[in-house]
Symmetry: D3
Subunit: 183 residues, 6 copies
């Protein structure tokens, strides 16, 4: 990097070495080399992120990657990345994917091994393994730390909890429906 | 504006007049002068936006406002603005408001007339009128067209519909719970 | 916020707490809840800013608000915000407002209660209460700390003073006119 | 340039040729090769701009230059560039220069041939030839079309005119002082 | 996308459909599904880009991907992407990779299947297959059209040609060395 | 500057004083006042940079300048600035200049005293004194620290050295040609 970007000891809260102390390992990572274990996840998918908190050399670079592993019929449930766009490439298997625009249009299709799909910045989107074999994908983001909000998880497992009546009214459903939605 | 920003006839898809043909009315709007009619909205709130599609002079300016009117006990349900931050000022009444961070922390409190609350860019947030009188608020955005995704509405009323089993698996709930969630 | 934006203890010189230590009060403010006292201001207006130095949660959010209170016939004199756009909403009363383009065109009109006007980024603009009743307005900015340069004040009350002959020549007026302009 | 930046026929309202039709002359200009004639300017300076409206190849490049020629004792009066920073290099002679911060601090000094001074983005600043010989300078801007507002000129020669009482009240001076300020 | 980003028919010179006419296929691509044929390339590598000119839905999204296939011992020779950062993930095989900082430091190492390396924005970098088996990698960019300048190719095969004496002097080598460097 | 931009003690790794401790000298520099000594440079040119590491007041300002002095027939060899655009103005003499696009087009011409040429961001470019008299130029950049990669120097003098076979394969030339290219 040039000195303008990374001369401070810390930048954005992450280590930022001076050029003379930078090493190749700061720009290297093996964090995506092992498939995520989808066994422990009720939705049937595991997202492994290669972001600035794992790869120091990404600091100020504005790019990162994630690997998503899907159990048979597993899903990466509806979620948003605040402000980051995503470009997903299927490594193995076949996925049903889609996003919803701010005007309420659902834009989706099936994406097979070697194929790609764009999820525009900030819009809710999902992927679902559409068959009984495992699947895997790689995603590129135009942010070094996109962050993720899984919608159900964000609302139902926040701490402290979002008040139940807020959820009920907020979701336009009646209380008896929401109460049992414990995850 | 200077010529660099707005010399084209259209920019970002919105009219962009040359300086010599600009009039004061391009920078004026009365769109927020009338309270929204909360009677017709099941969630009990109406959002009126003063964005670039209503105020041509906002084109390339990176700022806009919305007015939110709340029926007694009405809510502006959980939603996101893709990439825009929001600063809300209560004009009338008292609201319970909050947002959820990407690490699952709920950050919220009561905000009364004349008080303000920040909703960081891209994070899910809501407001709820916490009593039996009408309420109103003004919000500022650092975008000329922030866009909005109301979460329940985005998932349950998208066209074409998001497949029911996707919603069920995605939300980690069982099908019988989701099916009746018709709005 | 996500960790990328606000993980450092300080960012831009303002406190930036780690997510785990953030509280709702960091995103809350009552600084605009009390009208400014216009009695003590010769121009007849008081600007109260809700910016990052008052509301820590605005750090990195790129948005802020101000409240302007006007005495009868009071004015918010010609000023600029370096690099920030402004969208003003009249809360009470009626204002004559306007800005001047870089090509020397004056763009202005009367704006009444509930109506709005855009002041494009960096251009000189003003508001004037056009009658004998108090007035008030709320402004949104696409900056967490827009800063303000009141033109007369900037030139005539800077410390150390701008040399008198500079002002005279600079303003294309003769010395005898400028000397008495003590505020 | 790469296709992303300049593939459209027009971008930002300026011609943007496709790569295959670009010529070297699009990136060339002799507009600064002749000194400005300071004889016709009451303030004693002439600014010649090399901006995107003169040099098509600057479109999307985010940089431009100006040449300023000063008559003996001539001044480039207080002005702002909306949103652009400036770095001035004295080619000939000696200038008194300065800017005023948003907190009212005057920051200035003498700058001689071969020396430089920074004018931070959006802040009011000026230069004055401090002796009886002609002077000249080159300024760099981080904008392809910075735009300029000369403060006195903007207020007193805008069309349509800014109302006299607005100027008087706005400048915190009494009417009899402002009326004769005809340029 | 929201209307602000993509309401125009063309933006940046690429098609930009209105939301109502967008289809899922605009956001889909199979351009990376077939390995590049490294047989026809003297350097022993083929780069296949999934950029906005191939995937219309990437317009305004600020992200893209490339697939690089390497023959045994093949190399992706030293090159730059003007302004874009790159994050490379090895899909198959083992690569020697590296970049050079603006202070002349070479930062490189071996990267194996499943491992990643960061190439900071604008810096010269390369990859080389370090053994006799084919290799492949995926790269993410924070630009929808990063563009590439292969250094040798840019200098030696530009049209019209860069004058030979310029190359010779420029490269600090004598003419007899440069003349035969025909590719 | 306003407090938002420069309130921290250090920003981007460079000193950033609080407004109250800023002095005029932070915004001043004489670093370009002395011509570079071209005698000690084999390529026959010397670049003197006025960037944030020399002029503290440039921090966060996004602009800088360089002075280039050319010996008779001297050249500023092919190089890139990662992400910054450049606008060059010839102060003395006559230069042959040019850049190469990402599509392999050479765009260049002769530029004489008082004339200018644009080098688009990130593209390789050069200047050559086309006669037997000294020459000089001033360049403006839209970055406070553009950084430079001289292509031959970057590849052949990096430390640790780039492996010879990488250079050979990378440059598509045979080893015997590259070996003697010692600088």
């Amino acid at each position: 990097m040039n000195g303008s970007e990374c001369a401070a000891l810390r930048l954005n809260g992450y280590p930022c070495k001076r050029p003379e102390s930078t090493t190749a390992n700061d720009f290297f990572s093996d964090v995506l080399s092992v498939p995520g274990n989808t066994g422990g996840n009720p939705s049937g998918s595991v997202v492994t992120a290669a972001t600035v908190d794992k790869v120091p050399g990404l600091n100020t670079m504005g790019v990162s990657m994630s690997r998503i592993d899907y159990a048979p019929w597993g899903a990466n449930p509806p979620h948003t990345h605040p402000g980051a766009s995503e470009l997903l490439l299927v490594l193995e298997g076949s996925l049903d994917v889609g996003f919803i625009t701010t005007t309420g249009k659902f834009v989706g299709r099936t994406v097979c091994k070697g194929e790609m799909f764009v999820f525009p910045r900030g819009l809710v989107h999902f992927q679902r393994n559409n068959n009984g074999s495992p699947a895997a994908a790689i995603s590129a983001f135009n942010s070094q730390l996109p962050g993720t909000q899984k919608w159900a998880e964000a609302l139902y497992t926040a701490l402290p909890p979002v008040p139940a009546d807020v959820l009920a009214r907020a979701l336009d459903v009646n209380d008896c429906m929401v109460e049992p939605c414990v995850i």
